[in-house]
């Protein structure tokens, strides 16, 4: 019941956090936005799953964020610097994000009709996250951004998939994939700063 009431706010939350992830340049802001985004994912997954099972998504997501944050803390400042976005670039990203939202609002009704038992907010949240994640993946070649993009796409998919699949093993494996992605991202962030091994 609580999940039903908060579903709309969850969609707003993940829309905002995914936008921040797309245009944010400070890694602290990005990691915080990722953590908040998983709160929205937890809320939307909770519409179909039990609280305990949905909490797996939240915990795995926060752990993924923590892993990335720890990795970023452990590398030199120079290596932490991401891409500097000029005003034009930010505007372009805002515009494309707007297009993603437009697409999400357009196709959500049809998709919700095709997946039995799914709620409109889940479809909307799922598509927004998948779209914004793909956008992120298409606009960058930095390990941190790629990892965040993949985690975002996967989160969106998990919202949609939660409606049709409630297996504990799948939940665990998907959490494992999220954590694995974060660990790989952390590894890729730190490896250029490690000493070369012959």
């Amino acid at each position: 019941m609580m999940f039903d009431q908060l579903a709309f706010f969850a969609v707003v939350l993940i829309s905002m956090t995914s936008l921040v992830l797309l245009i944010g340049q400070d890694w602290r802001v990005s990691i915080s936005a990722l953590a908040l985004q998983y709160l929205g994912v937890f809320e939307l997954v909770g519409l179909s799953w039990s609280l305990e099972l949905a909490a797996v998504k939240l915990v795995a997501g926060w752990m993924a964020g923590a892993v990335l944050g720890m990795a970023l803390l452990g590398i030199p400042d120079e290596a932490r610097k991401g891409e500097r976005l000029v005003l034009g670039s930010v505007l372009f990203r805002l515009l494309t994000a707007g297009l993603v939202w437009l697409v999400a609002f357009s196709i959500a009704p049809q998709l919700s009709a095709r997946i039995p038992g799914i709620k409109y907010e889940q479809v909307l949240g799922g598509i927004i996250l998948i779209g914004m994640g793909l956008l992120q993946l298409g606009l960058t070649a930095l390990p941190l951004r790629i990892t965040i993009g993949l985690l975002t796409v996967l989160s969106g998919f998990e919202i949609l998939y939660a409606v049709v699949e409630t297996s504990t093993l799948v939940s665990g494996l998907l959490a494992g994939v999220s954590l694995g992605l974060a660990l790989v991202g952390a590894y890729l962030l730190t490896i250029p700063t490690m000493e070369e091994i012959e």
């Binding site: 993009g149 796409v153 998919f157 998939y161 998907l174 994939v177 694995g180 790989v184 250029p192 490690m194």
Partner: protein
Amino acid sequence: MSTAFIWILFPGFLAGVLLFLQRWERAVTVLATLSATLLAGLAWWLPVKEQFFIGPWTLDMVDTWSIMGRRFILGPNDRPALVILYLTAAFWCGAAYLARPGRVFVPLALGIVALMTAAISVEPFLYAALLIEISILLSVPFLVSHGRPVGRGILRYITLQSLGVPFILFSGWMLAGVEASPGDQVLIQQASVLLGLGFAFFLAIFPFHTWIPMLAEEAHPYAIGFVLLLLPGAISFFGLGFLDRYSWLRTSQTTYSMLRLFGVLTVVIGGIWAAFQRHLGKMLGYSVVVEIGFSMTAISLGGGTHSGSLEVFFASLLPRGLGLGVWALALTIIRNQTKGLLFRDVQGVARHAPVAATALILAHFSIAGLPLLAGFPVRLALWEGLAQISLTAVFWALLGNIGLLIGGLRTLAVLVMGPSDEKWQLTESWKEQAYLLVGIGALLVVGLFPQWFLPLFANMPQAFDQLIP
């Protein structure tokens, strides 16, 4: 005792232990190689679903392990696949001490093989997508080098492979719906598109193949060779599982036409790019692209009407494994003697590393299906089967194959060219020579006497009983 304990949990646990012992590189290599050989031997010999006695103890070998409502089943039909998987692990771990692809390679390679085994045994088989994804993530540490910037190839590899997972999982749900209402054409189309996209991402089918040459340029040749051998093989098994499971999919001629179309397209793209390559690592990558295309073409041959296509597909595993193994090892040895793997860096390498250069060229030609080499008999069977279905497809696939051959001839020319006064000499170590000569011998023996080896793969299609008429 469940078979999953032997072929999934034990190697997985051992991989974890070896990861902590990576400082003792030689011991780790020996332990992993022996364990993998033992597991391959057990897969060959151990009776499944029977009792056997060890001294006073009686062991019941059961083929199923249930966990969280899902099952891992390794039955008698999976034994050939287990033998191949663990023999591959044994060979690649065994030569790793020579190739030195990094300390984490051997433990992680063993872990990946355990995960691949889990992937071919999990029921519902759909979850294999997640296990394959985890094994892809596990391969990243040995594909990147310490102290160097992260290349675009590895990022594209992770991205494209990870994007395949949602498509496969969601298509699995839709396929269940298709089974419930087989007349729903819209649902069938949607499920087919999702499934096709999932496998296009996973199998690196055109246009999602770009990470292969990029990563082959960036990564250690031996490490990428292992990934490029194991990954497409396991994913093809997974794909055959879909065909085996869903009757509408395996009886639809469109499925086979699409497989053939994209298979041939992938061969043509890989072959043409290989013909113009100037980097030996990328050349290896494009040869794998061609091999993936040929695998799809082989699966498409039967059209669901006879098992010959599956036999061609399974028989191609041996020459591919041999070819890629020898190629990757030779490339590693050449890389250790040169500044890089660009043509300008390897000019005249054959004059001071003749065994490695010969092995590289023969492996390349074997993969290209040149007569007398391991790849030829299977490729010939493939051409024959394809010619009976579509001569146009044969023309295009031949074009791709010729591209790969041209790439081999250009490599040969570059490796032997050099100042005429430069003397020919052997600079490879005796161990390197021994490994490479065994590999060269195997390429020739399998090519000359295929009837000794190919029957070993005859039983492998039994694992997909619905695909055998």
